[in-house]
């Protein structure tokens, strides 16, 4: 492990015959971060994840998880990770508790603590009432949550979730987002891939953007939000109809990227920073503009993604 990166890849390349799915990918996922791995369908997200999970062999390059090389120490790598694939099945002929018991045993958990953990993860995933149900009888969303419960069972320091909310209803998605946020707060490293950016934007503190097998950008979310045209958008309604004059005045302020005004409506794009917010309000008050209403919008992950990618496929 180098520099606090718990997951690291170096020039990782994955090929399927003539197709290069992942092309010299080098990324670092800091320990304790919620890392959103975003990209369109076919960008190479799942291939990268499968290499990290030791399920796929990279044609070139190397990868480490928790300091263990995925090629040389696959068992150690797997013991560190709770994995939820994008498409998965469950053993329909097992009871829910048997299913969790199986994976507890495979992870070498003592039977008593496995039982305790199973009760805990069933509660966390809202499946307590289904403990004695057959897995085959669960709905799609419940199976999704059961898979998440299985991934959480051994209490791994790293979670790799590949499209965790696909096929789940809005309530289920909300619950999964809440769960990711909670696990992130507990200090787990979560590597979550998705192409549904709204969901990731709410939970991630780091992002990596992959397109056509290449990493377009990677780093803390603030780094992207603060850069370029993105940032916070302040929507201000003045009590007077001289918003154009106010916009012109604000364009000269350091923390303001851009300002446009028409009649009483004023849109101000500023740095993603509370001080910038305060500075703008102070400037407006000092210039004698009276503010009737103010609303703030953050630049979305979608904005960042659109800015970074070109719409290519691997």
């Amino acid at each position: 492990m180098a520099g606090g990166a718990i997951i690291r890849t170096e020039d990782l390349t994955v090929r399927y015959d003539a197709l290069t799915a992942v092309d010299s990918l080098s990324l670092e996922v800091p320990e304790g971060s919620v890392y959103g791995f975003i990209g369109p369908n076919g960008a190479g997200k799942t291939s990268t994840i499968r290499v990290l999970m030791t399920l796929l062999e990279a044609a070139e390059g190397r990868a480490w998880v928790g300091g263990h090389d995925v090629n040389e120490e696959p068992e150690q790598v797997r013991s560190l990770i709770g994995y939820m694939p994008d498409f998965f099945g469950v053993y329909d002929h097992l009871f829910v508790w048997e299913y969790l018991e199986l994976f507890g045993d495979l992870h070498g958990l003592p039977r008593a603590s496995a039982r305790e953990r199973a009760e805990y993860v069933l509660a966390v995933c809202d499946l307590q009432t289904k403990r004695d149900a057959m897995v085959g009888g669960l709905s799609r969303g419940m199976k999704q949550r059961l898979c998440l419960a299985r991934a959480l069972l051994p209490d791994p320091p790293i979670l790799i979730l590949d499209e965790p909310a696909s096929g789940v209803d809005p309530t289920g998605r909300y619950q999964i987002r809440q769960l990711i946020r909670r696990l992130g707060d507990e200090g787990k490293t979560i590597f979550v891939s998705s192409h549904i950016l709204l969901e990731l934007g709410e939970v991630c503190d780091h992002v990596g953007i992959i397109e056509a097998g290449r990493l377009r950008a990677s780093g803390p979310l603030e780094q992207f939000v603060g850069a370029g045209e993105a940032g916070r958008l302040l929507r201000v309604r003045l009590l007077t109809s001289d918003a154009d004059r106010a916009a012109e005045m604000l364009r000269g302020v350091d923390v303001v990227h851009d300002a446009t005004g028409a009649a009483a409506s004023l849109d101000i794009r500023i740095h993603d920073d509370d001080n910038a917010h305060a500075e703008v309000l102070a400037q407006l008050s000092a210039a004698g503009f009276r503010i009737g209403h103010i609303a703030e919008e953050r630049a979305s992950l979608e904005d960042i993604y659109r800015r970074m990618t070109k719409g290519e496929l691997a």
Binding site: T54, F87, F88, H93, E98
Partner: protein, 516 residues
Amino acid sequence: MPAISLPLVRKELRQSLRARATLAVENLYVLALVVAATVSVYLANQSGVPLWQCGRDAFYAIAAMQSVLLGLVAAAFAGAMVSGEREQKTEDILLAAPVRVRQVVRSKLVAAGLIVLALLLLSLPISVIFLLLGGLTWPEVAMAYLITAVWLTLALSIGLLSSAMFQRTIAAVPFAIVVTATLDLISLGIAQSGWAPSAIAGLGGLALLQNAASPDFFSLKVPIGAVSLLLCLSLAICLTESALDRVRLAHRRRAASQRIWLMVWLCLLSLLTLGAAAAPDQEMASPPWDDLLGFLSCQAGLIVVFAVVFVSQVPRKADLKALTGGRVGPMDGIFGSGPLAGARYVVLLSVLILVGWTAIWWVNGPSLELPGWRAALGTACLVAGIWVAALLAQFAALCRRVRRGWARRVLAGVLVALFFIGPPALQAWFWRGQDVPPPSSVVLLLTNPFAGCIVSFDPVAPMHGSPFAERIESIIPLGACTLLFLLAFGLCLLFVLWRVRLGYLTPRCSGSAPAD
């Protein structure tokens, strides 16, 4: 780490036994057993034979039916094991757990085996009834069950390999059933034909049962039954290893595939051992191996095949790096990874050859007046020959000047062939037109492992009365000369190889690395 994972076995059993198909198969099977037992006793009784004979005939009829039916059931059960995981999309989740692929595959095999074993034991009460009729003994009954169990192991491994080969269960299961049934029928045909190396018949359950009726089945003089069972089990292990390789990631597959070939070699050795052991005592029209020299020739051919297999395993540079992670020991690469990996294979080979030789010597040694130490010396020459051949192949693999992978393989093949064929060819050249081989040709011949083996066995005949050879033999056995030469040559090669290897994985400032 244990060879199997008990939680996985438990999971497989739970899944299989809760499936409706299992229930149907179990009930149909018991029904078929009862019907077959009743009909066979009735028919035997109608023919007017004594009751004890009725019981004996009915027992073997049931055992044969059981062998066929359970063989197919075993193939079908195992045929759905790996492909089923793929179809259900549970394979990734399972392989992402901290459990080894070999544990997953073997656990599946064990679980399927337990289910089939339970079905096999269902017939035990019926067998006890036949036993009480007096025409059978306990050992005969036990032997029939043992034979069926061994055959079922092979059927399970066929199913497992089929399951690993095909993506869909609907293709894997019929394929496994067809192969199992064909093997059963072909081996029965071979057993019926009375062809000499009838150990091949041991590959089929029916043929094994037919052989079991013979009183000599497990006798020491003609150990056809023991070799048949060994062959059957060896093949089962080969197939299981192949199934494992189809689930493993590629770089692990290359390292593991050598084990499969080792097992294939064991199978062939078993066959030859049987042929040589059985030949002097069996009344056969044309025994294929009628003396020890014939056996040696066959084994020589096998060693060449084995060397070629080693050559085909010559690693690419990328594989070697993946295997060793850049930390290279002198025996890494072709033998797997780690400094002791190579030694492990050489020791295993030695044991295998020794087993074959010991069997031959035990059965035929007294009549051939072959002392044990000479047999051991011949064995040592063969083992040393294999070692040197493997080192030559590695040397070719690491040759910088030969850039293409296929060219390095050809080079390895040429080097190994030269090592085995070169000295006898030169010897023949020096010897031409002379009655007695000159000292130069004797020395040349002694650099060949096969020649060393032959002169260990019979020091005078191959040298055609050469006074030079006789003089050496009076000081030190000729075979020992070969052995010493091979050891010295091998050590030199090992040293060179170690030096080459150090340079091979060290990046160069100029020039380019060999392309793969």
